[in-house]
């Protein structure tokens, strides 16, 4: 009799996928978990209570991250959408697209290290505005390239039709382009939000430790070997993307077509 192994493999895969989430929550509830104990001597909400008492500034970091990511997502999605129109209707659009790929594929941390001098001169070093501007610089090319497939012949024909029927630019955007691009705009907003939410290297260079986002906090706790608070920060970092996934998978997965 031939055994069907697929259900076993799939069950194992589901367990492996869920394991990090369960383990991180478990670690955030633990305390005094010394080697070689398989289970910690304390399990409870002590760490969470401390965090919500703002002793470690984690809640503040959560809201700083939220503010930075929302700002980056709003600016990059709006500018990406508007500027991409000029780029992808331009006769030299292939060259312009190529130029957009350079900052897109360069490691953000290296980019930030080479840009830090200019941020220092402009007074954008070590403050939240600087971090938002720096993250915007790496999220913008993504947003721009994201809308490359939107500006096609069909959309151009719609625009021409609106113009023929006497519509002005404002009406073209509000009545045709924005309703057509609504879904893409929403996905781009969440994707750029996540680019900013997950960013560590660039934030550490431009923020120089003064702007403490959640990713910065995770790393600080790792350096201090405070793994329980580290796990707690990880939980706060993962929570928003999981919520986004719950509402719609498209928000977390890259656009494919």
């Amino acid at each position: 009799m031939r055994i069907n192994w697929k259900p076993f493999v799939l069950s194992l895969a589901v367990l492996l996928i869920l394991f990090p989430f369960v383990y991180l929550v478990f670690l955030s509830l633990a305390s005094e978990w010394r080697f070689p104990d398989v289970l910690p001597s304390y399990i409870g909400f002590k760490n969470w209570v401390t965090v919500f008492g703002s002793e470690t500034g984690l809640l503040q970091s959560f809201f700083s991250s939220l503010l930075i990511s929302l700002s980056v997502a709003i600016f990059s999605t709006t500018s990406g959408f508007l500027i991409s129109k000029a780029v992808f209707y331009h006769p030299k659009k292939r060259t312009l697209t190529l130029l957009a790929y350079f900052p897109y594929i360069l490691a953000p941390v290296v980019f930030a290290a080479c840009l830090s001098f200019f941020f220092l001169k402009m007074g954008l070093f070590g403050n939240m505005t600087g971090v938002v501007v720096a993250q915007f610089i790496i999220a913008f090319p993504y947003a721009l390239l994201f809308f490359s497939s939107f500006w096609n012949e069909k959309v151009k024909s719609y625009e021409d039709l609106v113009a023929t029927l006497g519509g002005n630019k404002w009406q073209t955007y509000t009545k045709v382009l924005l309703p057509l691009a609504k879904g893409l705009l929403l996905i781009c907003f969440f994707q750029t939000f996540l680019i900013s939410w997950f960013e560590y290297g660039l934030t550490s260079i431009i923020g120089i430790g003064k702007v403490q986002t959640l990713t910065i906090k995770v790393f600080l706790f790792i350096k201090e070997a405070n793994y329980y608070y580290g796990a707690l920060s990880c939980c706060l970092l993962i929570f928003p993307p999981v919520v986004l996934l719950y509402f719609n998978k498209r928000y977390v997965f890259k656009k494919l077509v």
Binding site: F35, V87, V110, F253, L256
Partner: protein
């Protein structure tokens, strides 16, 4: 009027998308030649000579290249196998949600989690102790901060394999591989022939740009090697940042030499990938 508006759009694109990259590159280039910088006093090639003769860059590049290559090869191979064997099951409601979950985990969390699992005082070391395989933490094998970069490769695989599974499932559906496979079978092709002549060529051809793009992303990865890497050799981004943040002022210029070399390599890769005429459906 219309032309003017287009020009403003292009001007803004250049200002936000091109100028920062160009400024960063020129700054790094000038620094690497000693033209600017605190302790530098004019054009010199000594930093370039130092980097090239010491072999630091080549070692780090080779190390990063191999790690990225192994991680991408295993991830793509694994994702293709999963797509081939479990496609139908993965389309069911519960699993179709579960397979998206790994994408909610950023690199820094993956690095932290891998460290928690595989370090000498980590989860598996405790289990090994409980089962009697080891008696002390030091007996547990080096799986993080190790020479073979096992921890880094493991993290990279867990980060990108789920993405490739979702990508291949998507391409499988969009490119109607199912229908083409049935057609091939009805023409007498065996299961192996369908895999080798239909499934693999279509999926690879449609996604190779993204595969190369992910290889480049891994080449410049920072958070994971920072947590799980070793002292030497280091992955490129970690090396660059370490050199630039040095107190030894000569090292800063050498860090910029490595940054320039890295930027040149990824820029050439971008030109090779995105300049060709053919339009690719899954290019971004």
């Amino acid at each position: 009027m219309k032309i003017k508006k287009t020009n403003i759009g292009i001007l803004l694109f250049v200002l936000v998308g091109v100028v920062p990259f160009a400024a960063a590159f020129v700054y790094a280039l000038l620094y690497s030649f000693g033209i600017i910088g605190i302790a530098n006093d004019g054009f010199t090639l000594k930093f370039w000579e130092s980097v090239i003769t010491s072999g630091t860059f080549f070692k780090s590049f080779g190390y990063s290249f191999l790690i990225a290559l192994v991680a991408v090869a295993i991830s793509v191979g694994g994702a293709l196998w999963i797509t081939l064997k479990f496609r139908e099951q993965l389309e069911k409601r519960f699993l179709s949600f579960i397979i998206y979950l790994p994408l909610a985990i950023p690199g820094i969390v993956t690095g932290f989690f891998t460290f928690q699992l595989f370090s000498k005082g980590g989860f598996f070391a405790r289990i090994s102790h409980k089962l009697g395989f080891i008696t002390e933490a030091s007996q547990f094998p080096d799986l993080v901060n190790d020479g073979l970069a096992i921890g880094i490769i493991f993290s990279f695989i867990t980060m990108i394999m789920p993405f490739f599974v979702l990508l291949f499932l998507n391409v499988y559906k969009n490119e109607r591989v199912e229908e083409l496979s049935i057609l091939a079978q009805s023409l007498g092709a065996s299961a192996n022939q369908v895999t080798q002549r239909v499934f693999l060529p279509i999926l690879i051809k449609k996604t190779w740009v993204l595969i190369v793009l992910y290889f480049i992303f891994l080449l410049g990865a920072y958070e994971v090697p920072l947590i799980l890497g070793q002292e030497s050799p280091q992955m490129l981004s970690v090396l660059i940042i370490q050199e630039i943040k040095q107190y030894d002022l000569d090292k800063i210029s050498e860090g910029y030499v490595v940054a320039v070399l890295y930027t040149l390599i990824v820029s050439i890769a971008a030109i090779v990938l995105f300049l060709p005429k053919k339009k690719r459906a899954y290019a971004n």
